[in-house]
Symmetry: C2
Subunit: 349 residues, 2 copies
DNA sequence: ACGCTTAGTCGAAACGCTTCGACTGCATCT
DNA sequence: AGATGCAGTCGAAGCGTTTCGACTAAGCGT
């Protein structure tokens, strides 16, 4: 591989001139610029990223901390990743993938202190997330996909799960449903402070209360078997249930089976709306799920862009705390309440 | 951040001695080693990855070329990625993610010639894959997840789709099925030379012929709607069909719906076996799919390990061309042929 | 005609490491 | 006793860039 020195020699200029020509750091006469670029071309010169990084103290490498979620690595997560990588490359950065678990602060500290990365995008943010302290302590730029309880001075982008929950409920109510349950993630995940689950749950409770409806909730780990059991439990307690909102897509196949085993049909006898699932997942189920569908690719893109703006010390060209709506995509799993025409508005406490 | 020079000064040795102590490149007396490590500790010294990389001509960074598949980015793919990243880190490497498309050789050339990466793991390998020539021309170490038609001198790991297809067929035959169809990916993907689809198809044809059965095949793009249509077509041509083998998981929901619309039940009236889907996907469907389930995490790990062995010029501690079986995991979508006891072995041509 | 700015260029010093060659003792071999 | 070898250490020359200070020549206002 040829170096800048080779180019300089061939173009008959000094090494630093080549650098200035390449980066536009200082003015260069049109004529020498031509000569230099010609020389680069004949030599097939490519700047050496590592050397550049070392000298400029900017590696143009960022990391995506993509911890395997407690609920298991799910099919929804991939969209972030490729979108983030593409965005990074478009901006002249490279994206490293770190996928050790959230609480492995020691690994995180080691990797960040090697001077390799200019910044980190952190996913799977919890309400209290120690990684934030770590980054601040080290003085490393970072952005978040997700957000903690205290968002002072943080740059983040997240799905607005509160909006998603409210919209799902309004939609179901508009279809005549009044007995609606919320199927959450497992209790331990809530207790660990996993934002989406906590916020969706709170928002569900609030919206139901505001609508004067009963708040039926159930924790559930992310397996079909648990989904099945959870559905039975919910129905035992609230036999009039006609609809379910869930943020736990991996439990849904169990719910569907439980419904089928009752000889009910979806959506004629029972409606399901899922929060936070990607289209790819929603369309694997039968019937395809109605979802409040997060803009995952957007999240990945914005997370990276926020980080890069921070690294480059730009004035942000947008808000630095973004909540993205997740549009409700209506598919086969939801419909009007059974017999809705005959019985609007009657619900017991 | 402190540097090796600081450590050297504090420990009262020369800079190079610190380097030798750190890397074990030359013998160092126990006493000075102690002093050096103590100094590192009090200074909180961390070696600077970029500087090390520049001096040693080894970045300890590898890239995973993870192109978005033609069939769309699917839920199955994520397992590779986090497994690859973790493996890399365990071996002291960092994993970059490149997710531009397979045929974007120009991007690939640019990124590989920056001197940033020590090697590349390439996914989504086609029967004729230009990336291989590119890597060989540049002289960059690489390994493949997947394999092309000509495997001379290549280091790769792949799922054995031929085994998977055969095993699926044997299994179905053992359940009494004799009219079995193969639901492929779309024709354009086959024509592009996408290995898994081509091999599974060929293997299906071969195994059916060997069993004296008819070879019913259909192309199908990766959507439920196409799956629905494809199933209808198949049944129009072969009305006695009782089972389906597919390598197209994203079309399956359509197939399930088509079956349900016929008032058939799975698996009582019709069996489905899917090749190449992860457990996460199989368990999203209802009934959960019987699959020949590739060991994706293993593939990711082995791909990275093959690459690292190559980079470090080690004698490979294993085969360098690996085909991994995908164990048949029997779930709810398959069962004995309807009325099998009364009618074994009769099948028309 | 004077100093002052500015465009255009050069040389050299970083950046933080690895690695080569050379040096000093001291133990070992013949 | 002399040669040989090895453990242990040092200094200096890279690795391929960026960037700082300095220099020259030309253009400008007064």
């Amino acid at each position: 591989m040829s170096t800048m020195a080779d180019v300089a020699k061939l173009a008959n200029v000094s090494l630093s001139t080549v650098s200035y020509a390449l980066n536009g750091t200082r003015p260069i006469s049109e004529e020498t610029r031509q000569r230099i670029f010609a020389a680069m071309k004949t030599l097939g010169y490519r700047p050496h990223a590592l050397a550049r990084a070392l000298a400029s103290k900017r590696s143009h490498i960022i990391a995506l901390h993509f911890p395997t979620p407690e609920r298991g690595v799910g099919p929804t997560e991939i969209e972030f990743v490729s979108s983030a990588s593409n965005t990074a490359i478009q901006h002249g950065y490279q994206l490293l993938l770190w996928s050790f678990e959230v609480h492995d602060l020691e690994s995180l500290r080691q990797l960040t202190q090697q001077g390799l990365v200019d910044g980190v995008v952190a996913m799977e943010v919890h309400l209290h997330d120690d990684r934030i302290n770590l980054f601040q302590e080290i003085g490393l730029p970072f952005s978040l996909i997700g957000h903690p309880a205290d968002t002072t001075d943080l740059w983040y982008v997240d799905t607005d799960f509160e909006q998603a929950a409210c919209e799902a409920i309004s939609y179901l109510i508009s279809l005549g449903h009044t007995q609606i349950a919320f199927l959450n993630q497992s209790q331990s995940i809530i207790e660990a402070g996993y934002g989406p689950a906590v916020r969706a749950q709170a928002s569900f409770a609030w919206a139901m209360q505001k609508a004067g409806l009963e708040n039926a909730q159930r924790f559930c780990s992310a397996t079909p078997a648990e989904g099945y059991a959870a559905f039975d439990d919910l129905l035992a307690e609230w036999p009039e249930l006609t609809a379910l909102v869930s943020i736990n897509d991996r439990a849904i196949p169990g719910v569907i089976q439980a419904i089928t085993d009752r000889h009910w049909r979806i959506p004629d006898d029972f409606s399901i709306v899922v929060l936070g699932s990607s289209a790819a997942v929603a369309e694997l189920m039968f019937p395809a799920l109605t979802t409040a569908q997060p803009l995952n690719a957007e999240l990945g893109r914005l997370g990276v862009e926020l980080l890069i703006q921070q690294i480059e010390g730009q004035e942000p060209n947008q808000e630095t705390q973004l909540l993205l709506r997740s549009p409700l995509v209506i598919r086969g799993s939801s419909g009007p309440r059974r017999g809705v025409l005959a019985s609007t508005g009657e619900h017991s406490v």
